[in-house]
């Protein structure tokens, strides 16, 4: 058990703080919702009602989509683009998917290589791009979830003000959808760009996301070891 915790500390600790944050968000959102209902002289809703409501789900989904878009773009961009000096980048001159030998694919697979890395055809292609495919799928599905939840929440507000309901096609070009979308995207792109650039000159001793403290500013990830 102790060995399991030591070997998997990164994923387990993020799982724990994710769950705690989600519970915190749901409780704070529930209080906020009931305060607003009270201001309008309406009856408070139960916790169960709130966490299954579109107004809560759209807030969760809009953050999920932007996080998965961030990783999707970062994984894709780091195949093709280089940032000299950054530990997040491959070495200059190594842009692109790499050779089959470098990637240990097909006949270059070794003992312990995943079976699909040498499976050939569609399976090998799918496995070679599986991280990007899954991140992209989660981004698209959570963006779709945001659009559904956002439409339902906006239509509920519109109904209270005697306004007509929007269809899904009308909602996905509405300001509310793009305001929710872009306010999350801008912060993700800022954070990724900052991480790539700041890590050229700044260090964190012991972190896999940093170059060694004594590495040259010009050294890119693989050159700095």
């Amino acid at each position: 058990m102790r060995r399991f915790l030591q070997d998997n500390g990164l994923s387990l600790s993020f799982l724990a703080i994710f769950l705690l944050s989600l519970i915190g968000q749901s409780v704070a959102g529930w209080f906020d919702e009931n305060e607003q209902l009270a201001e309008h002289g309406q009856v408070a809703v139960s916790y169960g009602h709130f966490v299954t409501s579109s107004s809560f789900l759209v807030d969760v989904a809009e953050n999920w989509q932007s996080e998965f878009l961030q990783f999707f773009l970062f994984i894709f961009a780091t195949v093709w683009l280089i940032q000299r000096g950054s530990p997040e980048s491959k070495k200059p001159g190594h842009a692109g998917p790499g050779t089959r030998k470098e990637q240990r694919m097909g006949r270059f697979a070794r003992a312990g290589s995943p079976r699909w890395s040498a499976a050939g055809g569609v399976r090998e292609w799918a496995y070679a791009n599986s991280l990007l495919i899954v991140m992209g799928a989660v981004f698209l599905l959570s963006w779709f979830a945001q659009s559904l939840g956002g439409m339902a929440a906006l239509n509920e507000q519109n109904a209270q003000h005697g306004q007509a309901a929007l269809t899904w096609l009308e909602y996905i070009v509405a300001p509310d959808f793009w305001n929710r979308t872009l306010q999350n995207w801008q912060s993700e792109f800022l954070a990724v760009g900052a991480m790539v650039t700041l890590s050229i000159y700044l260090r964190q001793q012991g972190s896999s996301q940093s170059k060694p403290v004594g590495a040259s500013h010009a050294a890119t990830a693989e050159e700095s070891t």
Binding site: D7, V60, W64, S142, F144, A145, L148, G149, M151, A152
Partner: protein, 53 residues
């Protein structure tokens, strides 16, 4: 074994080496737990608004 003689960790490493599949399985379960969490969450976030919540 000799590498670990100074640290006294040789016994524990030998014990772990006897059960590598147990740790592989635990890591595999952790991977699928994250996948279920993510795709389960997505299923909830898509189905509830469609069901009129």
């Amino acid at each position: 074994m000799t590498d670990d003689a100074d640290t006294g960790r040789s016994d524990s490493r030998a014990a772990h080496a006897e059960h590598p599949s147990m740790h592989d399985r635990a890591r595999f379960i952790l991977f699928w737990a994250w996948m279920v969490l993510i795709f389960g969450g997505l299923a909830v976030m898509i189905t509830l608004p469609l069901a009129g919540r």
